[in-house]
Amino acid sequence: MGADLEGVLAEQRFAPGAGANPARPAVDTDSIDTDIDTDIDIARMVRRRHARLQAEMANQDVEVAILLHRPHVTYATGHPVHGVDATHAVWERPVAVVTAGGDRSHLLAGDIESQPATPPEVQRHPAVWPELGSAMPALADALAAIAGPLAGRRVALDEQTGAMLRAGLLDGATVVDASHLVASAKIVKTADELACIALAQRRNEIAMRAAQQALRPGVRRSTVAGAFLSALHEALHEPGGANLIDPIFQPVPRSVTDGPRTTTGTVAFPTGVGDPVFAEGDLVWVDSGIDHLGYASDFGRTWVVGRDPTPAEQSLFSRWCAVMTAVLDVLRPGVTAGDLCHAATTANDGERPWLPYFYLAHGVGIESAEMPLVGTDLGAAFDDGLVLAPGMVLVLEPVVWREGVGGYRAEEIVAVTDDGWCHLGGGYPYAPFEAAA
C-alpha cells in the first residue's frame, strides 16, 4: 500500500509543537495543512470495494447480500451520505443488493434525478420502502428480479424491518450476518479510502477554526456548535461534508464526583445533552465528525475558555503527548493492539490512559468507530490477537485524567503504512496548550 499512498498523502510525523502557537489569538489558522492531493477516483473506489465484497462472499459462502444499514449501502454502491436524523435515514433508506459473482452491485433508491451520477459499476433500481408493509410485494419482486428466489440459499443481511419479518421475505433462506461480511472487507483501506478520510478530516479541522474562535466566556454551546456547522457549509462552498454528529463542546468536571454518575465510576463523555453557558476557565472537550464520500472524520481537542491553561492543566497535556509519542513509536505493521495498550499504559505510570467504556484507539471509515478497536472491554486476549496491517486506520484518543484537575483528551488519525504510520490529519494546533520543547 505504501506505493499506492505515495502522491496521495505525504508521510508525516507526530509533532504537537509544530501547530501550537503560544501567541493569541488561540487558533493560528494558517498552520493547518489544507493542501492535500485529493486524487480520489470514485469509480475505482467502488470497483475495489465490490471486489472485496465479492471475495468475502466467497470466503463466507454467501450467495446474496442484502444491505439496509446506511454505511453498508454506501460501501457497496457509493450512495452519498446525508446528514439526516435516524428516522429519515430509516424511512427513506436506500437498499443495496450484491449477488455472488455479480459484476455490479445493485442500488434500490429514490430520487434518481437529484442524486450525483451513480458510477456505471452500480445498477440502479427504483426505491423500495422496507418499513412499509404495503411495499413488501414490490420489495420481494425487486429482490427476485436481482437475485432470484432466496429460499434455500445463504443470504447475508444486516437488518430486517418489522414489515420484512411479517412478510416472511427471508423464509426458507439461511440468513447470516452481513455485518461480518462488510467488516472483513473494509478493515484494510485502499488509497482512495484513506484520501477520503484525510479530506474529511481537513474539512472538519477548517470548520473547527470558527468554533474555537467563537468559544468565549458567556457563550452557549449551541452558539459554538452553530459556528462550526455554518462554517462547514459557508467556508467550504461546496456540497458534501454532511455533518455526522451533534458537535460536542462539553465542559468536563474537575472531579468525577461532580457528576454525571457513570456505571464505570469515571468521567462521562460525550453525554450530548445540555446547552451550557461557558465560563472562564472551563475545560472543554471537543469532538466532531463529518462525512466525505461515505468516510468519516474524527476531530478531538481540549480547549480552555478565556484563559491560558494552568500549570496543572498543562501537565495533563504534556502527559498526553508522552502517551501519544509512546504509542506512535511502536506503531507499525505486525504489532498488536495489545502492544499499543502496553506502550500507552507504561507512559502513564501504569494506569490506562483512556476512557474505560471506550478505547485507546478505534478505526474509522464508513463508520465513525469501527475495527480495529484497541483497548476495549473485549479484553486483553482480543487486543493481543489483533495484529495491525498496512492500510488500517487508527483514531488515537488517549485521555489523561487527574482527579481534582480534570482531564486532557484529543484525537489524531493515522494510517498504518508498510513501515510505520502516516498522519491523516492536517496538524490542527493544540492551543491553548503548549507542547514541551
Partner: protein
C-alpha cells in the same frame, strides 16, 4: 447573545416533561399488554425516546438494531443502555442503566440481569439483525420473538396535545431559520451562505440537531431557490419548505395552490385516493407523518393504499411542481386542518 424561547437541550429532562413522558410510557405499556408482550426491546432513537424519555447524543443515519432499551411489561420497568445518568429521566433509577459495551458477553450478562427478561414468553422488537436474533434466542430460549414496530406506529400516530405543542415550538424555530435563509437569498447571497444563516439562526435558539436538515437548492426558475428546514427540538420535528424569489403566475402559483388543496384534504377519514384526487396534475408530492422525526403514514402517488387519516395526526405536506416546492406541517383536527407554521 441568546435568543429567548426554547431552552431545548436541558441536561435533565425537566418536570414539565414528566407528564408527557408518563402519558407516552403508559401508552407503550398498555399496548404491550394488548399485544401480550412480556418484554419490548427497542433500538431506534425515536422509539427509545418515545418509550423512555431518555436523551442521547445525536448522530446521523441508521444504527444497527440492538437493545438500546428493554421494557418489562408486568413490572412497568424501563431499562436503558447508557453509561451515565445524564439525559436519563429521574423516574428511571440508576440501577436500570446498563453501560455501553463492545463485548457481546458483557451485554448478554447485563440483559440477563434485568428482572423478567430471561423468562419472557413473548419479546417484541422494533427491528432485528441476525446477531440480535441469535442473542435473544440464546438468552431467552422459551421466548417467541415478534416484530413490534407496528405496535409503536399505532400508538404514536395520534399525537397527545403536549406533543402537538412541541411540534408547534419546533416549527417556529424552523420558520425562523427559513426566514434567515430567505433574507440572505434576497440579499443575493449564495446558497451556502443562506444555509449557514439558517443554521446559525437555529443555533441561536439552542437548536443544533437536524431531522431532515437545512437544504437550499436551485428552484424551478432562474433566481429562485427552494429552502427546506427540518429540525429536532426537544426530540420533536419541526419543519417547512418554501420557494424563494418567485414571481406571480405559472408553476410557482400552481405549487402553492396544489399544496393548499392537499392540506385542506388532510381530514379525519381521508384516504390516499382522496389525496391523489386533490394532487392531480402535480409531478411530485408526499404526505407523511411527523412527530419524533419521519413517521408513517406515507402517502404518494404510489404509496399509502389502506391508510385512513385520523384526528390528532401531524402530517408533513410537501409539493414540488417543476422545481417550485412548498411544505408545511399540518395537524389533523375534527374541523379544518391546522397549519403549524407560525
Amino acid at each position: 447573545v441568546t435568543a429567548p424561547g426554547t431552552n431545548t437541550q436541558s441536561a435533565s429532562p425537566g418536570s414539565d416533561d414528566a407528564a408527557l413522558r408518563s402519558e407516552r410510557r403508559t401508552r407503550v405499556f398498555e399496548a404491550m399488554d394488548r399485544a401480550m408482550l412480556d418484554v419490548l426491546v427497542l433500538g431506534r432513537r425515536d422509539a427509545v425516546a418515545y418509550a423512555t424519555g431518555a436523551r442521547s447524543l445525536w448522530t446521523a443515519g441508521t444504527r444497527p438494531p440492538g437493545p438500546a432499551c428493554v421494557l418489562v411489561g408486568d413490572r412497568r420497568a424501563s431499562h436503558v443502555l447508557s453509561t451515565w445518568d445524564a439525559g436519563v429521566p429521574p423516574e428511571i433509577p440508576f440501577e436500570h442503566l446498563y453501560g455501553v459495551t463492545w463485548n457481546p458477553a458483557i451485554l448478554a450478562a447485563s440483559l440477563q440481569a434485568i428482572p423478567g427478561f430471561v423468562d419472557a414468553g413473548r419479546i417484541g422488537v422494533d427491528a432485528l439483525s441476525p446477531g440480535v436474533e441469535r442473542l435473544l434466542a440464546r438468552l431467552c430460549p422459551s421466548a417467541t420473538i415478534v416484530p413490534a414496530d407496528d405496535l409503536l406506529v399505532g400508538i404514536r400516530a395520534r399525537k397527545l396535545p403536549a406533543e402537538i405543542e412541541r411540534v408547534r415550538t419546533a416549527t417556529a424555530v424552523a420558520a425562523a431559520a427559513v426566514d434567515a435563509a430567505t433574507a440572505a437569498l434576497n440579499a443575493h447571497a449564495g446558497h451556502a451562505t443562506a444555509q449557514a444563516a439558517a443554521i446559525r439562526t437555529a443555533a441561536a435558539r439552542s437548536v443544533t440537531v437536524p431531522s431532515s436538515g437545512v437544504t437550499v437548492r436551485r428552484g424551478g426558475a432562474w433566481g429562485t431557490f427552494g429552502v427546506d428546514v427540518g429540525l429536532l427540538v426537544d426530540g420533536y420535528e419541526g419543519g417547512l419548505g418554501r420557494t424563494v424569489g418567485t414571481t406571480p403566475g405559472g408553476e410557482a402559483d400552481e405549487s402553492v395552490a396544489t399544496q393548499r388543496r392537499l392540506v385542506e384534504a388532510c381530514r379525519p377519514g381521508a384516504t390516499a385516493a382522496d389525496l391523489r384526487a386533490d394532487a392531480s396534475g402535480t409531478a411530485r408530492w408526499m404526505v407523511r407523518g411527523s412527530g419524533m422525526g419521519f413517521e408513517p403514514p406515507v402517502i404518494t402517488t404510489v404509496l399509502g393504499d389502506g391508510v385512513r387519516l385520523a384526528e390528532d395526526m401531524v402530517l408533513s405536506v410537501e409539493v414540488d411542481v417543476a422545481g417550485f416546492m412548498r411544505r408545511d406541517l399540518v395537524a389533523v383536527t375534527a374541523g379544518a386542518p391546522e397549519i403549524m407554521t407560525p
